[in-house]
């Protein structure tokens, strides 16, 4: 007779053995010297100048250093630079590097390296391009000193060289920096003088990227503050693990397999907050800003009065509630240059962003809106963006617009937003996105304020007055006058908007209680971080 019971018992025993043996091996805890982190994205590209994506910026801060850096109070402080000087006529800037700066291949950091790096960065970065428009030339004085000669005084030299977010002017060896700015640097050229060393042989895209402490790095003596000060590394190794599934990230953090999640989803924060082994820390108090972008070349948004009506129709809190939910992680803030920063002001904003649909409807009629449907692109695959477009649609419809909301994945939206075709033939009228606050701290830095027609970012606003304000701001060296220019710009911009800011939000990191020392900065950095 076939022994049915024995067969079942044999199978159960075998299965238990597999699970049991594997279980007996135990889960290897991460070493105290190794920090395992899940970042918001995988590092596929190693060149932070070639792309403006934030994960490459974060990678850049690990490997390379900057001439200047922004501290916690938004002041730009020397970083690789030991001393700098500006001539009385403000036309010559002289920079001298610190002693002992060295690339990880053992060669010293030189003035030539820095000049080549500035040129490559400026070829890609809009703030760099603006600065180089006022630069006559860059000259080597000696191995550690170089001069930047200007054709006219320029007010944002330090702000440009100490730009905290994409593209960051990272200093690279001359050979690397001479790579065509339109080409990526090679893997073997990822050589920095920053606090960590990129471990090329362990880089497995889609799996992990590994950084080791740079033993040759010479931190400044000042205490760390924001992205400035002494970058003292207290870990031997940092691993950025790629883990696409957010639920799995949470499970791995609870289980101690990883130490930190850079950007846990807001819907999972209550779950993480309940775990006594996990802390939620907002290390970036400036946070991020949601933005509604117009295509200013497409009717009816080519009419500033109709764009202004949108400004009047919108209210920020509805956007924030729909996407973030918990009020501790968002802030209603009308200031386009971000609440809590030196240029934050509500000038000109009293009558907008109050969800005043009656007033918006009246403005639309006065502007002669002809009922053209607004093609509103909705991104459906990024949780922090998905719910924005339906809220915008509701506001617009309440004000009397016809809206054709089209759903798509973010990459399709990214590809479509650069098309200038008519909205009913593959183009668009509007979409919503989010900016890291560190990218929009002034009107030159903030890409959506660029109103230089075809040279502006997608949406291509064309407004001479805004451009004049931006030029004035860039050339003004007195901070008080800069603020005055921003106030005047803002009052004008409200009536001629290039975009609408629809609220500030924050994304805390989730870390195990064994981890400490994350710095308050607009970028997640790993110097000063400790692990017990």
């Amino acid at each position: 007779m076939f022994d049915f019971r024995r067969s079942i018992a044999t199978f159960v025993a075998a299965a238990s053995t597999v699970v049991g043996v594997a279980g007996l091996m135990g889960i290897a805890p991460a070493s105290a010297q190794t920090l395992k982190v899940v970042m918001h994205s995988d590092v596929k590209i190693l060149d932070p100048i070639w792309t403006t994506a934030y994960i490459q910026r974060n990678h850049g801060y690990m490997v390379w250093d900057t001439l200047f850096a922004m501290d916690e109070k938004f002041a730009v402080k020397p970083q690789m630079v030991d001393k700098y000087d500006v001539s009385a006529d403000k036309l010559t800037w002289t920079f001298t590097l610190r002693d002992g700066l060295e690339w990880t291949n053992g060669t010293p950091v030189t003035a030539e390296d820095c000049i080549a790096s500035i040129k490559r960065w400026a070829a890609r970065d809009s703030m760099g391009q603006k600065m180089m428009g006022s630069v006559v030339g860059l000259e080597v004085v000696d191995a550690k000193t170089f001069k930047m000669k200007m054709k006219e005084p320029y007010g944002l030299v330090l702000e440009s060289l100490g730009k905290p977010s994409s593209n960051v002017p990272f200093m690279m060896p001359k050979k690397t920096a001479e790579t065509d700015p339109m080409q990526q640097i090679k893997v073997e050229d990822v050589i920095g003088s920053g606090p960590f060393i990129f471990k090329a042989d362990e880089w497995k895209p889609g799996e992990k990227i590994v950084y080791l402490k740079n033993p040759k790095y010479k931190p400044r003596n000042e205490p760390p503050s924001g992205l400035a000060g002494g970058k003292v590394v207290k870990l031997e190794r940092v691993e950025w693990i790629t883990m696409p599934d957010v639920q799995t990230q949470v499970g791995a953090l609870q289980n101690g397999e990883i130490d930190m999640i850079e950007a846990p989803g807001h819907d999972l924060l209550p779950l993480l907050a309940k775990d006594k082994n996990i802390q939620l820390v907002n290390f970036n108090p400036l946070g991020n800003q949601y933005t509604f972008r117009f295509n200013s070349t497409a009717k009816p948004f080519d009419n500033p009065k109709i764009r202004h009506a949108v400004f009047v129709a919108f209210g920020q809190e509805d956007f924030l509630k729909a996407t973030i939910g918990d009020a501790q992680w968002y802030k209603v803030c009308k200031a386009p240059f971000v609440c809590g920063t030196p240029l934050a002001t509500d000038a000109g904003m009293a009558d907008v962003l109050n969800a005043n649909s009656a007033k918006a409807k009246q403005l639309l009629q006065e502007a002669g809106y002809d009922g053209t449907p607004i093609v509103l692109m909705q991104s459906t695959d990024l949780q922090v963006l998905t719910n924005l477009a339906p809220v915008a649609k509701a506001f617009l419809e309440r004000a009397g617009f016809k809206v054709d909301m089209q759903s798509m994945d973010w990459q399709t939206l990214v590809a479509r937003r650069v098309k200038k075709d008519p909205p009913d033939k593959g183009g668009w009228h509007a979409f919503l996105t989010s900016w890291v606050a560190a990218d929009i701290l002034n009107p030159v830095m903030a890409g959506f304020f660029n109103a230089a027609c075809d040279k502006a970012m997608f949406g291509w606003p064309c407004d001479e007055t805004i451009e004049k304000f931006r030029d004035q701001f860039a050339k003004e060296t007195d901070p008080a006058k800069q603020k005055e220019i921003v106030e005047n710009l803002q009052k004008y911009w409200v009536d001629h908007p290039t975009h609408v800011n629809v609220g500030q939000w924050y994304a805390p990191i989730a870390r195990r209680t064994t981890v400490d020392g994350n710095l308050t900065a607009p970028v997640p950095v790993f110097w000063n971080v400790t692990k017990k």
Partner: protein, 313 residues
């Protein structure tokens, strides 16, 4: 037989040609621009256009196709738009986790489903049979990621026996490799077990009513010999067919399972490549999957001759 194999291998060429043309056209005709993805959120239109130019995406579509096919014929699968690595290198890095997951799942699934399918047929109408059939319905109905999350919750978070995620290469540490394979393989095998056990049950039931089974019993052979040597062997052809087809399902399922368990395999590479519009990677991976499907089908056809000597090619 050799003739048959040669003919089948030659038949791969038109299949791959059709796949290549379709994949290429579909990628070019669907929305999405890799240059815009590469350039990042703050890039201007000019910067994006420069990148398109460098990637050769401004060339006419047929020129791009001719360049790609020409490269493939020379064994050059191109370079990923994003990783600055050749697609061949990327696939080589990612193939091990997927192969390991597929093999472990197959072993799990066949080791469980064939015996329970045979036993369910042997005890037709019993409680065991009903449990197996209920499990089969459940296995088909519950999505893989739900099973994955449940297993993670029980075995990793509550019991702490197994890790939540990750992959350790077999050559680095065998036991860590094994402990990281258990939950993903179990997850992926549930649907497969349901499928094979149902087919096994049905095939064996059909065979058990044949005259030669009655004859074998009349000769005094034990139930074990009748079941294993006569019934199962004659029921093997449909079971093998389903296992062969199932490997295709496994590869599709691996996309979800690899994401849930953080395995850096080909499934995830495909998803990442699709989301970032990495054309060279998508094209090569799909071509590779097509070759794998054709070869697996060929192997299944060949294996029929082993189990059923009446089949000749």
């Amino acid at each position: 037989m050799l003739d048959f194999i040669a003919r089948r291998l030659v038949a791969i060429i038109p299949v791959l040609t059709v796949v290549a043309v379709l994949v290429f056209l579909m990628l070019r005709l669907t929305p999405g621009d890799p240059a815009a993805v590469i350039a990042g959120d703050n890039a201007t239109s000019d910067q994006i256009n420069d990148i398109r130019e460098k990637l050769g995406l401004n060339e006419p579509i047929w020129t791009q196709f001719a360049i790609w096919i020409g490269d493939i014929l020379q064994g050059n699968f191109g370079e990923s738009f994003f990783f600055k690595k050749t697609v061949a290198e990327l696939i080589a890095q990612r193939i091990e986790p997927t192969l390991a997951l597929t093999i472990c799942t197959l072993i799990f699934a066949v080791a469980i489903s064939v015996p329970i399918g045979v036993m369910a047929a042997y005890r037709q109408g019993s409680i065991f049979d009903r449990i197996v059939m209920a499990f089969a319905v459940l296995g088909f109905s519950v999505p893989g990621f739900v099973i994955g999350y449940c297993l993670i919750y029980v075995f990793a978070i509550e019991l702490g026996w197994l890790p939540v995620q990750g992959y350790v290469r077999i050559g680095v540490n065998f036991w860590q490799f094994l402990e990281r394979m258990v939950l993903p393989s179990l997850t992926l095998s549930v649907g497969f077990i349901a499928l094979i056990s149902r087919i096994t049950r049905a095939s064996v039931l059909e065979v058990l009513n044949e005259d030669y089974i009655r004859t074998a019993r009349a000769k005094g052979l034990s139930n074990r010999v009748v079941l294993m040597r006569h019934a199962l062997r004659n029921a093997a052809v449909p079971i093998l067919t389903v296992i062969g087809l199932g490997i295709a399902i496994l590869m599709g399922g691996a996309v979800v399972t690899e994401s849930v368990f953080g395995l850096p395999g080909l499934g995830r590479l495909t998803v990442e490549a699709v989301l970032s519009r990495d054309f060279p990677t998508i094209q090569t991976v799909i071509l590779m999957f097509s070759v794998v499907y054709v070869v697996i089908n060929l192997l299944v056809d060949i294996s029929y001759t082993i189990f059923d000597p009446r089949i000749r090619y």
